[in-house]
Subunit: 234 residues, 2 copies
């Protein structure tokens, strides 16, 4: 890449980091746990988030979600059926969410009334890894249908995440999913990363996921996420 | 996006288009059909390409492949087992292939001895759509595990492709894949796009795919691809 491109890219990322830090301070002041869900297209982020929202709403936990896509508001409509407030962010061709778009879509929401704010990123295992959204927890999802090698091929995304969620567990058999290999590959690129296996369809693993969420909320805002660490000014 | 970013992006794309046009002329002079395979991570591009190379090598058809990944040369090693010449392009964090990288990886290959040159792009349904690689045919792959809505959410990729290949057909049952919905969604964003259903595992649909390849080679270089059309200078 030319120097000009590298400089411009650094400017954009610095600007995004600044907005992300302001968002993080705002989430912290409001005592809301913000989570950024990242994965390939088709990993099942929306089904997983839909199940999560339903479970939380059922328990009376106040929760909201933003959902990013290049086009369509299919996902926002689908998620809103959970009863939680949901807003769509359309990127119109852009391959990731940026902190400023998250910020502009929070207007009118009272963050301090929420326990959790989920942000579903654009389906893309590359570009969203560079954009901190002010989240406390970055969640990388990996489906059993995608192949066990994805952590090795997309190390940036796994490296910048705070927990890995394996999705579509109900299909592990038909897909001949090699769990040990997948876990070893995650461990190779991000030693110690917590890994949860789930199925939004059967509900498998959702209790462990909900317990993880409650635990992370209890840990409070001083338990810094990987994204927060990397976007601190040098 | 700021004017500066838009201008820079246009410069990069113009430069890429220029290299792509030179590559296209070179492929045409060598009478080799170049194909650019694009999809999400985990759609099964490598398994599909591996099966394709094996079938062609078995029939004595001269073929070679370039394979793009952020990191690892797993795919090149896997594909080389077919007996075809294969080279890995590592993008080291970049989210797409560019024409210049294709060009620099052709050194020492005699293109005129080849019938087909396959280029497997980085797994990403967004960014690679903007980068013409000089291909005659852009192949977008969509697996039955990803959900039928992907064409609507990633219209840029489907719009710039010349054929859509549905992969992992053997999993259509367990995934409750709705073929009619997927085809309708493809038709909605790219009317008339040819759609083939395949399974690299069972071999289903591979004969139709190989017939498509032979047919496109017979049509010759004047049958312009969507990428060629879009990168012609205004």
């Amino acid at each position: 890449m030319s120097t000009r491109i590298l400089e411009l890219r650094r400017d954009i990322l610095n600007q995004n980091d600044e907005t992300a830090r302001a968002l993080r301070a705002r989430f912290r002041a409001a005592d809301v746990l913000a989570l950024n869900l990242v994965s390939s297209p088709g990993t099942g982020k929306t089904a997983f988030l839909e199940k999560t929202l339903r479970e939380l709403v059922e328990r009376g936990v106040p929760v909201a979600a933003l959902v990013g896509d290049l086009e369509t508001d299919n996902d926002a409509r689908r998620l809103a059926a959970s009863g939680a407030p949901v807003r769509q962010i359309n990127t119109h061709g852009r391959c990731h969410l940026e902190a400023a778009w998250v910020e502009s879509h929070l207007d009118g929401w009272s963050l301090s009334d929420l326990d959790y704010l989920f942000v579903e990123n654009v389906g893309n295992l590359v570009c969203p890894s560079s954009y901190d959204l002010g989240e406390a927890v970055r969640v990388v999802l990996l489906s059993v249908t995608e192949g066990e090698d994805k952590p090795l091929k997309y190390p940036g995304m796994f490296n910048s995440s705070d927990v890995a969620v394996i999705t579509k567990w109900d299909l592990a058999g038909p897909c001949e999913f090699d769990e040990a290999a997948a876990r070893a590959n995650i461990e190779a690129v991000r030693p110690g990363l917590r890994v949860l296996a789930t199925s939004a369809k059967t509900g498998f693993g959702m209790d462990e996921w909900l317990a993880f969420l409650a635990e992370r909320r209890r840990l409070g805002p001083d338990f810094l996420s990987a994204a927060a660490r990397s976007s601190e000014p040098m």
